[in-house]
Symmetry: C3
Subunit: 202 residues, 3 copies
């Protein structure tokens, strides 16, 4: 239930981030909607492609799709007045979405009988795949590949969920705890500007 | 029947457009064939991936694949003599393909039980997905995202077909009418250089 | 058996190539692992998506995934000492992988009932798809599209396997012969710097 609310908040946050980037790159209205749509639902669509099933957002969740439209409209209205006032709030909502998407991806991987690599990849793909697709379209190197402490959280969630499942501990309460911990780590990483190490070429 | 002829004309036109862009970007022969192939058949392959079925062009339609080879060869011969003489003819054949692809995508979405977002996305993906894949490979921002009045027609066709299906009016005659209207709108948009509005960042 | 060993050597070589390119593009550790993973397993995942089945590397082959980790770690250690000492050895191992991937892709296409275009596309996609995905992420035009004599070998293998299958000659011995011939042609092409012809725009 908590996860469901988080997922819809995440869809809204992801749609908003797709919108901002599309506007900054001067796409036209169609490009803006496509960018929002891909960012918000692309991760879930990739998840369902890899798990070899029909994309959930294209069959069931009319809410999701209307969610995007509503968000785009809301954000659009806001554009005419003033930019997003609180960057921290945005990062927080985005973190809710990223973490809940990672959990839903890992669960889908477990359900499809994937191994540890598969479960982790699916958690990662679901959480950041939408943003990666958008960045590929916009023709830039995806942010998650070269900065910040973001995708690694989704990877961690995948690994932990696979382990919990192996131990037979995949209880809703533990999922909730994992969700809260994931969001907390993301917010701390954001406030302290954590980065992953790099290997420079010599 | 009309749709089938339009689809093959469209495959030919899309293959030709893939060819021209590959040559302009100095790809080698393999790149040229891949660019033609992706532009012509990529939309349909994406459609079948999303609808969770085997790609039609890889199982049935030997015609499609030979169609591409024939086109590439024809265009190649022409290269040695003189460039395409009529841009309007090219835009017209391309419009036939785009509109018939949008219709085939929307029908596949309806058949897979997709909701309005799914049907529209599938119409769009089938119609312009091949060109988007090609532009991603060639490493440029896809044309449909930032210019012209093109992808929006595919979106419109998806919405209308979903509505017709809901109303129980998906009669071949109406499909034909929709096809002709779509092509007509595309040609008018081309002649008058219609553009979608943009939202510039302030 | 020979093919299996070649495939794992290929996965190792592809992971190493993903690693080098990620380091050169200054991706962080997550980006480096993702680049290795995509280069090594991306082709097989694309193959299974197109053949409409669960990605093999995400369900069965724990070996493959650990293979990548081991390779990355090995290469990483090496980075701290000195660069890869033998370019020819690297090209040779890469050729083993590319040719065995092309064969596995073509066989998957035959099994899925694909036509000649499908079998060839699947051979090509499995062999070079991982590298193409990596290049798209890194935001450059894929190497195979504009240089060298590489992807064309995968295409040739696809065509020959389709022909052998048609003639009922798909005997393990012939597969082995095809494998050795493919690797030999790749090495000759590398030593002699073969290139495919281009068509410049006039």
């Amino acid at each position: 239930m908590l996860l469901l609310i988080a997922e819809y908040l995440g869809i809204a946050a992801f749609a908003a981030s797709g919108f901002y980037i599309a506007v900054r790159h001067r796409l036209d209205l169609l490009g803006i909607y496509l960018s929002s749509f891909l960012t918000a639902l692309g991760g879930g669509i990739l998840r369902d492609l890899l798990a070899d099933r029909l994309p959930y957002s294209l069959t069931h969740s009319l809410p999701a799709s209307t969610g995007i439209l509503v968000t785009s409209l809301l954000v659009w209205r806001r554009m005419h007045q003033h930019p997003w006032e609180s960057r921290t709030l945005f990062v927080f909502i985005d973190a809710l979405g990223m973490v809940s998407f990672a959990i839903s991806g890992a669960l889908a991987g477990l359900q499809a009988g994937f191994n540890i690599a598969g479960v982790t990849l699916l958690a990662f793909t679901t959480a950041v795949g939408g943003g990666i697709l958008r960045d590929i379209l916009i023709n830039k190197v995806p942010y998650v590949l070269h900065g910040g402490f973001y995708g690694i959280i989704a990877i961690g969630i995948g690994l932990i969920l696979w382990l919990l499942h192996r131990l037979g501990w995949d209880h809703p309460l533990l999922l909730t705890l994992l969700f809260i911990t994931g969001v907390a780590i993301r917010m701390i990483a954001y406030r302290r500007s954590w980065e992953l190490p790099r290997l420079y070429e010599r």
